[in-house]
């Protein structure tokens, strides 16, 4: 057994941070959509997968990773508009479980469609030349691309925060999460707000996908395991809470990373154990509000 130095621990913590960042991007999208619309988007994993595939497609045609990085999430967001408008909105007023069921079906359709178009064998997505290579952080060599992922996520989170806190639209979204009826009564077109939130949430999923692609490969099933991890993050953080999504995302990332270091066989199970423990102690999640669609 290798000696456990501080350097190894630090390296491990850093890898956990990167794992967490992807989860944060996904969980924020899920939480936004759930917080405002009480819709659980089971297709979130498939949209993450689609982001990676669209990234592959765009890089193939434009030879520019940077362009793909911007455009792929926008395309996924546009699809998100479509999903909200034509698939989820008709279910408004019906059972709260219906959008979950619908998006579950949608995820099956999306995975198979992607397989049909791009084949069943996975694809390779390479980071741009500028981001290949490792950086000496002092305690370990760390891939530059992973540092980039952390950076991008932080920038996006800041932008999101500014958008939600400082703009009028952001204000409406926040108000709509807290009291949709009142917002409607005040005359705002909630439909357009929903469209926007769904688009943003799904775009974030697409971004997570194209960021993860160069790290983990691109294949049709890539959304399948991560959707469940994302649900765990949202439930632990508190459904509807963005701060919760961030804290829980990073926490779960670290849990996975550190468990892998000390007891690799338990890495997968630990995530669920943490979730069960958190929910026993704080039933609404770390930052969730009780009564919010519990």
């Amino acid at each position: 057994m290798a000696e456990l130095t501080l350097a190894t621990l630090a390296a491990q913590a850093f890898t956990g941070l990167v794992l967490g960042m992807i989860l944060v991007l996904l969980a924020i999208g899920l939480s936004l959509i759930f917080g405002l619309m009480t819709v659980v988007n089971f297709a979130h994993g498939s949209l993450y997968m689609l982001g990676a595939y669209l990234g592959f497609f765009l890089i193939g045609h434009t030879k520019s990773f940077w362009l793909a990085l911007v455009v792929a999430p926008l395309l996924v967001g546009a699809l998100g508009f479509g999903i909200e408008r034509f698939l989820v909105r008709p279910l408004y007023g019906r059972s709260i479980d219906d959008p979950l069921l619908l998006t579950f079906g949608l995820s099956l359709v999306m995975v198979e469609t992607v397989r049909l178009i791009w084949g069943k064998i996975g694809l390779t997505l390479d980071p741009p030349r500028e981001l290949a290579g490792a950086v000496n952080l002092g305690f370990t060599y760390f891939p530059l691309y992973r540092l980039f992922v952390i950076g991008v996520t932080v920038v996006v989170l800041v932008a999101l925060f500014v958008f939600l806190e400082k703009t009028n639209v952001g204000l409406i979204i926040r108000a709509g999460s807290r009291d949709p009826l009142m917002v409607k009564a005040l005359g705002f077109d909630l439909g357009r707000v929903w469209l926007l939130v769904f688009g943003i949430g799904t775009a974030l999923a697409g971004l997570a996908g194209i960021l993860a692609g160069p790290m983990r490969g691109v294949y049709a099933e890539m959304g399948v395991t991560i959707i469940i991890e994302s649900f765990v993050v949202v439930v632990v953080g508190g459904m509807g809470s963005l701060v919760g999504a961030i804290v829980a995302g990073i926490a779960i990332g670290e849990v996975v990373s550190l468990t892998t270091l000390f007891a690799p066989k338990f890495a997968e199970i630990m995530v669920f154990i943490v979730m069960a423990l958190v929910l026993l102690v704080r039933p609404s999640g770390l930052f969730g509000e009780s009564g919010l669609m519990e």
């Binding site: 279910l91 479980d97 949608l106 469940i228 439930v235």
Partner: protein, 315 residues
Amino acid sequence: MRRARSWIATHPVVAFLVVFAVFPYLVPYKALATQVLIYGLFALGFNLLYGYTGLLSFGHAAYWGLGAYGTGIALAKLKVGSLWLGLAAGLGLAAAGGAVIGFFCLRRRGIYFAMLTLAFAQLLYFVGFHLADWTGGDDGLRGITLPPLALPGVTIPLDTSLAFYYFALALVATAVAALKRILDSPFGAVLQAIRENSERASACGYDTSRVKLLSFVFSALFAGLAGSLDALRLNVVPIESLYWTTSGQVVIMTLLGGAGTFFGPFVGAATFLVLEDRLAVFTESWPLVVGAIFMAFVLFLPKGIWGTLLARLGP
């Protein structure tokens, strides 16, 4: 027509037996009929919780799997040698799982509840994966021999598909009869009251937590029996029994057939399995078709096939 309908409604078990007695001869091959029977039972259990009590569980694979592994381990590892003991082991394990998981998950409602059921089922999957000495891990649990049916005075071997089918039919029919009893009882009425409005049921003085937990356990029992039967049918228990895709399948079947209706689960199971069987001949992408059909049902035919049929035929 109305007379027939009301007769069926009051004698569902007989109607069920009549249809399923001849069912093997109506489908392309006998193994499909047995599958429909078993998955129909699985969906029946799920429907009790979702269609009648209003609780969407996305982790029902757990009880199916517990039933399957319970029976499998009893017969293959512990070598109990008795069909009844094997079934009892599966049922017992499923019920225990239902009680424990139900207790935790029912502390939350709505979407949290669904997510918790999913998470617990996944937890069970990983546990099953790693306890390879008992479960066979990802190789599956093999070597499950099917003991003959020991009844007082006679022993019937079950090694032909037709014999096994009728054995399964007897058990499933018993389950159907049990479900009818449950639904017709005051307990059943409270279940449906909870589905409509849980707070009001509570306000009326019913102990909704206890009722929900009982419903959960019954649901797990039906699902577990189905799992046990499938273990006997296949002679193996694949690890996928516990994976969330199995949970997804039963949700699809129930919705296709009609949640909240008595026979919907069997209609849904038959539709799904026959569709899958026939489509797989034409295309490898049959999940796409099934997924699209499922979405269409959620959007346009939320009552499912049987439910829509019943609604059309009038009250």
